[in-house]
Symmetry: C2
Subunit: 593 residues, 2 copies
């Protein structure tokens, strides 16, 4: 089993050094988060991840959740771990202090999220879902709903869910059939079936708060007729004590490729008592409050699993003796050299590092902008940050989860046959990572969100929030000798992205298929440029040096070189695919598939 | 569950139309395989795959193999299916008629192999291993060994294994510790432990013939001191009746990510009676007889699983209604359009088709050359064919198994959340496909085999066997109007491959790390060019038309267009990565990983 140790040096680098300029001065309400406090938070998170969550990861996968007569039992050890997790305040880490949260800025909270997902993705999903429900109620709930539910979600004694999917509808929520009938008491009776509900039923908390999308009797057709309802598993009394069992039941759990310790439930609502959250027919808006936060979280999950796999693979590459280095023995006293001596193994490890560190930088950027959007004193600056976060969200979700699958697979590859057997824990990371490309909107849906919504929004305003800092950076550093191997290739890739953006903006308005056919490649090109920009800045920051030690900065520059030589050139192939147009895809006849 | 139907039209196209020139006149001993007989073989294979093997695939995965007190039990239904499989003569399909085989040419046998692996990879491994053992004994065994073992392997009443790997050595077989001590009776006592032995113990056959790599007492160190021994589970009497139990025992089976119905065994040899196969210390040569055939088979497995996944995904894309086509409803009478209407879904399906059909063409080419190498009247032509097969083998193994993993993952992606749950069978294909990139030499090892062995062999002679037909084709069709969108891009990619080959040949001799650092990207570039060449020929063949129907040829050309527009451009990125040199990989310090 690979041992997981949180990558604290790179986390500190991203937090303090890479975005040093943006983070000075500190945002209002973040002043107290100096180095000492942040280090304490990160160290405590790292310790919990390593000593409590990681040891339950393999056993949780083997046992899976158990369904018995409507009850769901999490694997052995999960209840105790959750009790500790909640008692230590991790559920409400980034939550509003008014409701008992710690109010930790997003840029710090995402690092802790990453640790927990690296150590045990299945476990981390339970508080993750709670977090989504917290967000939706915090933003759209009534005062009474907030007072009743938020403190209990924040302290982890209750958990939350998002009930969207039905057997016949996943991506297309306009097809939802679950109905909400007003009751004389002013509540609603919710009737319908939901599937794929993570944490829909389990034994970790006293109560579960379902946020359910359903249709009111007078609802217009499609997504404009969806409302959101809060359906507690146990109806709380006025003092918050869970009382009568609500008419929501679990009909079974799914047997899945991975995240087997996360309960994925079929839920039946049989006239269950629900309370409208927000305005009637405005459920999609409320749902997106959960969904956007969840999409960033899922991107972080992809990163997290790649990191866990890297740690296992790097350790194995140092220990496993097999063959000789091409240039001659590096360990002549042993029977063989460590496989780290083989260039192709190093290539795979560096590919993982480049993906992981680029991803962490991208998440760090988005999380900082999220803090700005929430906390900055200047409204214009807040709006600009929100624009950038909206733009980056689908990119982070799709790119980082694709990277998560790619890198966990590379981790198995480095382990060889020993990676394919379950005992070593490497193949579990592949199975767990695979869902991240699917849930909270498949990566194809993310790509469509980017090209069809985010690009044209406000006349291209969101895209300019991204293009301007890169253009400024390139202009400022065109003649910077220390960045010679980096700025030129970035400039080339950036020009390709600009041209591809213009092509999509122009052709996509004439023919909607054009945007759709280019979407996935465009998202990948976008991500390559975004990370290329951040790698340039990482090289600068590494040259400045700091508190992470000389080897850290040397490695950072080395990984950057790998990125520019071996990863960024993909921009040419993506550009060619986009500019070739949709013809090869759209002219192919349906009956020929 | 996706229903598997063998893709007979494309199989016939590859066999008869794509390589029509090469296959005229028929090879000696292949004359009887006219269209009628071949169609009968393919139809019988397709029927068995669909009606017997495919129905056991999901249940076999769920049940897995069971180990109990030294015995291994295959999942329910496997014994009956195997009995039928053997009785119908499929084990010895391509085997020598002298020993009871059917003598079917490789170019036909690989198509049947593909069907069986598509339907049930785990099942197909049992006869697959037998096939490897058959090859080694046929080539290197004594007359007496051949007479005793081959008929029983060929009729499937006994099965075979390859016992190479030990806990501390996989790729590096020079580290093997299993010992062979000569006995007074002229046999050897084999002592040692082997792991990851597919079909090492099971309940399908009366006897199991292990081919074991071990060291004689006077063996030189390293791979030059490895000999091959035949170790039957039951020692046969003179009449071939299995007699005394030999001292080989199964210590357990592995719990794996996939191929769960294939028994992966730990075997202990405790002074087991073994018989030398071939000359002392020449075991690696004998092993490669098995290994090279096995590598082609593994490539076919990657193709096979991609095909199975495509069939499931295409059917789902037609049935699943979700959202609307970007250009407006295509099924206005329904609540939503089939997801096939979404360009990104079509893109994924076309990516799968391009990979699958290109792979099948590549296998068809190699299999035909294998037939030439075995059957052609002209020795020079036989040698040339053997050269090409040797060159293509690592490319097919690595490229097709990478494609298998990529495409089975795309199949899951098209299914969305429904692909991630086990019930639909799509995620099993991902788990099963994953081993193909690892076993019979990891794909990194294949890449090293290509650049470090095959490229420099005989002063580049093998490579010329590949370059010449492509150069000839390009010269002949430079001005061919019907091939305008294809020949130009192929020419560009081919020039890149030529330059990269020259670079590796030159730099690789100065610095062995250079070849190692370029190997994986070079193999992929090679595969892109090989398939680009075959796609050009496929477009030609499609233009000529034939017996597969108009829609087939239209689809073939459409898929070719996709390949040239969306896949082949990757050659630029691979070329850039190779030509950037090894520095980014080799200069990175060990301690910085």
């Amino acid at each position: 089993m690979p041992v997981y140790d949180a990558p604290l040096a790179d986390m500190r680098f991203v937090l303090r050094e890479l975005f040093a300029a943006e983070r000075t001065p500190p945002l209002p309400g973040s002043e107290e988060y100096g180095d000492e406090l942040v280090d304490a938070v990160l160290a405590a998170g790292a310790k919990l991840a390593r000593s409590v969550l990681a040891p339950l990861n393999r056993s949780g996968d083997e046992a899976g959740c158990r369904f018995d007569d409507g009850q769901v039992y999490t694997p052995q050890g999960f209840r105790d771990a959750y009790a500790r997790f909640a008692a230590d305040g991790w559920v409400g880490l980034a939550a509003d202090p008014e409701y008992g949260g710690q109010g930790v800025p997003q840029s710090i909270a995402v690092l802790v999220q990453e640790m927990f997902a690296s150590a045990n993705l299945s476990f981390s999903m339970y508080p993750g879902l709670t977090h989504g429900a917290y967000h939706a109620i915090h933003r759209w709930g009534s005062d009474a709903q907030r007072r009743m539910y938020l403190p209990r979600l924040v302290d982890g004694s209750w958990s939350g869910t998002m009930c969207l999917t039905e057997p016949h509808c996943g991506t297309d929520l306009g097809l939802i059939r679950t109905r909400a009938q007003p009751t004389p008491a002013g509540a609603h009776a919710i009737t319908g079936s939901k599937i794929f509900i993570s944490a829909g039923e389990h034994d970790l908390t006293r109560n579960i708060v379902h946020l359910v999308l359903a249709r009111l009797p007078d609802a217009p057709a499609g997504i404009k007729g969806i409302s959101m309802f809060l359906v507690p598993k146990f109806l709380p009394g006025e003092d918050g004590t869970p009382g009568a069992r609500n008419a929501v039941s679990c009909g079974g759990i799914e047997h899945k490729m991975g995240i087997r310790a996360s309960a994925t439930c079929q839920l039946h609502f049989d006239g269950a008592t629900g309370f409208l959250v927000g305005a009637p027919h405005k459920g999609m808006r409320a749902m997106f409050t959960m969904m956007n936060a969840a999409r960033l979280t899922v991107g972080v999950q992809g990163l997290a699993l790649a990191e866990a796999s890297y740690q296992g693979a790097a350790a194995y590459a140092r220990e496993r003796l097999q063959g000789r280095a091409p240039g001659g023995a590096v360990r002549p006293e042993a029977d063989a050299d460590p496989i780290l001596a083989h260039p192709d193994v190093r290539r795979m490890l560096l590919h993982m590092r480049a993906g992981i560190e680029g991803a962490r930088a991208l998440v760090g950027w988005a999380a900082h902008e999220l803090d700005v959007a929430e906390r900055h004193a200047d409204a214009a600056r807040r709006d600009a940050a929100q624009d950038l976060v909206s733009l980056l969200t689908p990119v982070i979700k799709a790119c980082l989860t694709d990277m998560g699958s790619e890198c966990t697979n590379l981790g198995v590859q480095i382990y060889g046959g020993h990676g394919y057997i379950r005992d070593n824990g490497m193949e579990q990371l592949v199975r767990d990572a695979r869902i991240c490309q699917i849930y909270e909107g498949t990566n194809g849906v993310q790509a469509m969100d980017l090209v069809a919504r985010k690009l044209p929004a406000h006349g291209g305003r969101l895209l300019r929030r991204f293009f301007h800092p890169i253009a400024d950076f390139l202009a400022a550093h065109a003649a910077d000798e220390s960045l010679v191997p980096f700025v030129g290739p970035l400039h080339k890739a950036f020009r390709r992205l600009q041209q591809a953006s213009a092509y999509i903006a122009q052709r996509g308005t004439e023919d909607a298929d054009e945007a759709g056919a280019a979407a996935s490649e465009y998202l990948r090109l976008f991500a390559l440029v975004a990370q290329g920009y951040l790698w340039c800045r990482a090289v600068q920051a590494a040259a400045r040096g700091g508190a992470q030690g000389e080897a850290f900065y040397r490695a950072k520059r080395g990984t950057a070189q790998f990125y520019f030589q071996r990863v960024l050139p993909q921009s040419g192939a993506l550009f060619a695919a986009i500019m070739g147009g949709a013809g090869a895809i759209t002219q192919y006849r349906d009956e020929d598939f």
